[in-house]
Symmetry: C2
DNA sequence: TATTTACGAAACCATTTGGTTGCAAATATA
DNA sequence: TATATTTGCAACCAAATGGTTTCGTAAATA
């Protein structure tokens, strides 16, 4: 199976988990409270995120806190960057045309 | 089935198609030459990309040219933006620490 | 010590995915 | 007009996905 950042953020629940963990490390149980799905389903998503190295485990007694590895998200930013330049150029050119028309 | 930009960019072939179409509109046949998979497989990816409104068709005789709708990619940029700010802040703080140590 | 709690892992299931081959239809060309 | 080309669509298939329930184990607690 594919295991990369793009696969990781494809699922809406996983994007929500990333959003939660961005605010602070959490245990699977704490996360599950935010969703309609079971704790085990959240755990399966966490497994994917761990395999993608988007989160890291920190054991603390019988609890496991999941921390966001924010740098991993950079891969998505790197992918989108050239396209961002494209639509900004497009916008600039449109602006020029509009200014000329004035 | 889920039909959003995140689903669209989850597949590596679709990311490659987006990259190709970014350089200029192409027909499915022309795209298929760049990949190992069949013309029909490319067509199925194009269907997904069309449903996500990442590409638009332009009929020209019996050929169909696919154009990139660059603005759609903005949704990904909007998603990543807050995280970009997070890792930049992190980097700035690290830099401060390193400067103090000097 | 006995029980509860937190968790991952496994088995299972329906649906989706990403590929294939084989059409039919529309357009271009001989 | 007959034939070739370009394309989308349907049927099919194996594998992956996202969920469930059940279970074993380790740690906290009564």
């Amino acid at each position: 199976m594919r295991r990369d950042v793009f696969q990781a953020i494809a699922d809406p629940t996983r994007r929500a988990i990333i959003g939660l963990v961005a605010l602070g490390a959490l245990t699977p149980n704490a996360m599950a409270e935010h969703f309609e799905i079971s704790r085990q389903a959240v755990s399966k998503h966490l497994r994917v995120l761990t395999e993608c190295e988007i989160v890291k485990q920190q054991h603390h007694g019988r609890e496991i806190f999941y921390h966001l590895q924010i740098e991993k998200m950079k891969e998505v930013a790197d992918f989108i960057e050239p396209y961002r330049q494209m639509w900004e150029t497009k916008f600039d050119q449109l602006e020029k045309v509009l200014n000329t028309l004035k």
